[in-house]
Homo-oligomer: 220 residues x 2
Amino acid sequence: MTEHLSTAEENYIKSIYHLQQSESVVSTNEVAARLNTKAASVTDMLKRLNSKQVIHYEKYKGVSLSIEGEKIAIDIIRKHRLWEYFLVEKLQFKWDEVHEIAEELEHISSKQLVERLDNYLGYPKFDPHGDPIPDSKGHIQFQEQISLTDLTIEKPATVSAVVGSQSSELLELLTHKNIGIGTRIVIKRKFSYDNSMEIETNDNCTFTISKELAMALFVR
Amino acid sequence: MTEHLSTAEENYIKSIYHLQQSESVVSTNEVAARLNTKAASVTDMLKRLNSKQVIHYEKYKGVSLSIEGEKIAIDIIRKHRLWEYFLVEKLQFKWDEVHEIAEELEHISSKQLVERLDNYLGYPKFDPHGDPIPDSKGHIQFQEQISLTDLTIEKPATVSAVVGSQSSELLELLTHKNIGIGTRIVIKRKFSYDNSMEIETNDNCTFTISKELAMALFVR
DNA sequence: TAAATAATTTAGATTCGCCTAAATTTTTAT
DNA sequence: ATAAAAATTTAGGCGAATCTAAATTATTTA
Ligand SMILES: [Mn+2]
Ligand SMILES: [Mn+2]
Ligand SMILES: [Mn+2]
Ligand SMILES: [Mn+2]
């Protein structure tokens, strides 16, 4: 299939993939912003990736992944999330500490390593942040999840993901409130004054959380 | 201490370290041979590493690691061997399959990751090839080992290392004869005609091994 | 010790990945 | 519909890491 891709190329492909989740065609500036680089550098790379057939690109028209490119992206994301799972489950890292390390580990090339790691971990379906881990065929079990903000009162739900998962402040707060992936939540009241809400969790605790925290939590 | 080192720089430092085990000053050509590159490229890199103070280098005079460079080398080797141990013990790789993968994993930078991995693995002292794993302070428990070729008749010894550990032919042979790191061996007879020898192992098996195999085995 | 040979370095290119500044194209606002 | 603003690309350059070919230095051999 595709020859060897550099770490930089892989990071671009992954970024384009993620940006495509919201809008199917991605702009040069968006890629630049996500990768903390300059638009001119992005244009450079897009030309290269285009000639390698992993993206569709025409100047001034934005970029999207080719079928091949999407496969590559999913493979990198699979590795990223499996390693994050490993770091948390086996090496006892906290979930706010693993992203940077996985950012490096995701580029280790051995196919066999990924498969064996997956098997060793027991084929986990979600990473420590609640994001789905693609299987070895590249299939992703998308979960329809909604922001806790949009959950109906009195309707029980389970925390499925946390956004802003690199923030240790967020982790501190969630640890204090004893909330994590898998926690059952019911909204008891919503206060329109500050958009805070009173919730009840698993362990029969009832307390109030802020609008900010509610927006960081996704449930299903 | 030292800023960030690239993968290429780390590989050069590690190679110089290994070459220094036999002779304290290493030549440009030796480095080139070990890294499968050209002498001109090595000269280039030596200038860079010299300016970063990790080696001592004067033109036409060969190269050696600085104190700082040696610490870096040992740290990379520690990571390499810990990952090899992980791959064999946890992911069930055979010991002839792990070197290439560890060659990539050894460049993952997180200090915390190494320490936690070491702890997770139970602070192993030797890698799957019998080579010592440096501890977190960089201390290496050297073992005086000798080639099986040089072992005295009737003197029991334990296989401590296998050289040529990337060869699957060697692994095949050792698996067949049921020899591995830790196997107890006694030499019963040496045949000077072809330098083969009759040995007895753990499991009370007695059989003959070739000169070639004896040279690949180290014991203590 | 002088010539031949081997080892090493220098010179000059190339590719990748990035940058700044300038030019061009597209989009938005008047 | 123009002009202003924003987005994007091009031009030109730089450092890292590699290469080949040529020049230089060191070592060996006659
Ligand atoms: Mn990455
Ligand atoms: Mn994640
Ligand atoms: Mn390496
Ligand atoms: Mn090893």
